[in-house]
Symmetry: C2
Subunit: 286 residues, 2 copies
Amino acid sequence: MAKIKKYTIGVDIGGTNMKAVLFNGEKTVMNYSLGTPKDTISHMLIMIKALIDPLLEKAEADKVRVSGIGLSVAGAHDFNHHKIAKSPNLPLLDGVKLAEQVHKTMKMPVKMDNDANCFVRAESLIGAAKKFNNVYGIIISTGIGGGWWLNKKIYRGAHGGAGEPGGMVMDFTDTIKLEEAYQRLNQNNSLNMATEAYRGDVLAQRSYEEIGRLLGTACANIVNMVDPEAIVIGGGTVKSSDLFFPEMKKEMTKYIMSPIAASKVKLLKGKLGNDAGAIGAALLVN
Amino acid sequence: MAKIKKYTIGVDIGGTNMKAVLFNGEKTVMNYSLGTPKDTISHMLIMIKALIDPLLEKAEADKVRVSGIGLSVAGAHDFNHHKIAKSPNLPLLDGVKLAEQVHKTMKMPVKMDNDANCFVRAESLIGAAKKFNNVYGIIISTGIGGGWWLNKKIYRGAHGGAGEPGGMVMDFTDTIKLEEAYQRLNQNNSLNMATEAYRGDVLAQRSYEEIGRLLGTACANIVNMVDPEAIVIGGGTVKSSDLFFPEMKKEMTKYIMSPIAASKVKLLKGKLGNDAGAIGAALLVN
């Protein structure tokens, strides 16, 4: 008997672009992108519909049912009330129950999660950390976000406040958080700095070594706390991760307390690239 | 019908003293202490028997069966191989399968865990955090240990390396760990410093404020990572915790990312005192 086929749709709503994927449970069947409207929610809903409609047409052509829509949105979520508490890049979403709104527009089941949780869900289920059930995901781009995939679901903590490595204080004296320390080293300009480092600029290369030290130390703190099977990193910086990955691994190993954890924990680069968020959103719905 | 009654025995093996409790599932029926032998394992086994025998006699007099013995031992455990990997205070235990040895001597089921796990188990099941199912325990004495009580058991991580807050790097530049930073502020002499602070010594009081800042920041890092319902602190410093608790709470709240977690997480002082380790060990056996 043939397996019952169905699709799900995942939409990653970023500060610049929105990306949607039509997903068959294993891989992307079709994807589509549009610029993110920043003026009003009703405009955003129109554009989300415009983004999704071509995928629904494709599903119809394939004679496959679409069971629901998942949304990936950066920022702090209030999971108890199914709303976005604070979106750093899209202030118009602050306090908005976007999943409910999209449900009203599209007449389908809609679920929502933050981008780092969607990233680690996707990488754990079909990506770089596919073999593992205990995976800590870190997204490094302009900010630093995180999510923890534990026993086939996202661990959110008692009040939805878990998985915030960007807020980890890395300098007690001046109370500098991981995200701030990273942004300082990165000079808020990772693209230029990577180009310079690849060209051989010694200062840029040293900055990347420091970034490796910083991220490696933060990963050791994570391991000493939750000891996952693997840490998977994603976000824009993965492209230039060879500039800091060796240093990061070395530092991480150095500061893990348990010798067994130090020798066994895997540090992985995400392999779903820019699609990870949308795929992780598509994986929210069954 | 009457509830079937049974006792368990918990033994806390410390660097100076060993303490045993006879436990009825709710509270201590009898307890007994002896100095910790530091010369040979066979001497230690003789003294453990001498410590336990009076409790077995009491159980016999009460006509209650003793179902097993739990051991609480400070240090890094290799939980896969049921042995103590490294004991900072009792080097003679390094690499020793103490539970197996005690089982051979006492002919009863024996289980073993580290002191911080025993502490948080006891405080979560019958102590200060009795209402909660997601509790992070921190023992602060000469060193800093930790354990995480999640869904009615200790969360150990993928390789037994979780729950090591003492190793958390709190100063990225000089890579100072929480335990080191605490020891520096504490001048390795908490008893004298507390006396001085209570007498009104301003420098000692300031050191305690700094300790509060340090521990509060570390707790914020813990909340941003695992977001427990409560953090419970124990160990020798609880006695003088009024000297740093207000500052600790303030700093913790300041650096928690999630506003909901910041307002809801509880910071508690353990209430089982010196018995927590032995009771947590007694709670290891059914």
